[in-house]
């Protein structure tokens, strides 16, 4: 079973994402901020990470940069799920290796479909 890490300071968002992905066969691990998210990556092997941007302690863009700097986590595809929508920020995430940017609120079907598309791309590359 593929493991997905969901990092968001909103429990509501984590719950919605976890329910949606669990329903289609993923195992979901949650973290409420970037620092806790990095800790989870030391404890589990993830197939994907879904990251909010605005979070306490370590924000999503900082966590993305740390993930891509670490050879152990650099290959994990990362999706950004956030209210932020400015192209400059989206471009920064793209340059730092994120695979997709989803702007909240997002339909569950769009989220699941994006997760599957990115994992397919990852498998093909």
């Amino acid at each position: 079973m593929k493991k997905v890490l969901v990092v968001d300071d909103s429990e509501t968002i984590r719950q919605h994402v976890a329910e949606a992905l669990t329903r289609v066969g993923f195992q979901v691990i949650e973290a409420s901020d970037g620092a806790a998210g990095l800790q989870r990556t030391e404890q589990h092997d993830f197939s994907m990470i879904i990251l909010d941007v605005n979070m306490p302690l370590l924000n999503g863009l900082e966590m993305l940069e740390r993930l891509k700097q670490d050879p152990k986590t650099a290959g994990i595809p990362v999706l950004m799920l956030t209210t932020e929508a400015q192209r400059s920020m989206i471009e920064r995430a793209r340059q730092n290796g994120a695979k997709a940017w989803l702007i909240k609120p997002i339909k569950v079907e769009s989220l699941v479909s994006t997760v599957n598309k990115v994992l397919l791309q990852q498998g093909a590359s």
Binding site: S10, T12, H16, T83, Q86, I90, A100, K104, K107, V118
Partner: protein, 143 residues
């Protein structure tokens, strides 16, 4: 407005707002208040208890983001911080301290929804300067 009843559950988000490159940013606060009865229509898809307090925090966050993006074409850069819960008593006090606070009222079948904004926002300086380069809620951008 003094008779307006503040709904039971509220979250607030503080922000800074720069209305031009040279101007000193002003501080402000956006508050969203919802009636408890509104939570009865939340869809609980799992056995986990719906986190209504967290939900109002997240809604406030999403509302602030929308306002931030709507202000960009007017040359105003809003920088919201993280949302937090706020009590009705604190809001009542805030209303007394900031009589110029803007209050927006929305009616639902389950009670009123209030949005309150305080801060020195100079509306005369909001001049449309062209579309901003921002995405829309619900967009999916695959790189």
């Amino acid at each position: 407005m003094s008779q307006l009843k503040i709904p039971e559950v509220s979250a607030a988000i503080t922000f800074s707002l720069s209305q031009s490159v040279k101007a000193t940013p002003c501080a402000g606060r956006l508050t969203l208040s919802l009636p408890e009865a509104l939570f009865t229509i939340m869809k609980a898809e799992s056995m986990r208890t719906p986190q209504r307090l967290d939900w109002v925090r997240e809604l406030t966050n999403q509302l602030a983001a929308r306002i931030k993006h709507r202000l960009l074409p007017f040359g105003a850069a809003m920088q919201p911080l993280l949302p937090s819960l706020v009590t009705r008593d604190a809001l009542e006090g805030q209303r007394v301290r900031f009589p110029s606070m803007r209050i927006y009222l929305g009616r639902t079948l389950r009670g009123d929804v209030l949005v309150m904004v305080d801060g020195n926002i100079d509306e005369s300086r909001l001049v449309y300067s062209g579309p901003a380069d921002v995405g829309n809620a619900g967009d999916v951008i695959i790189f």
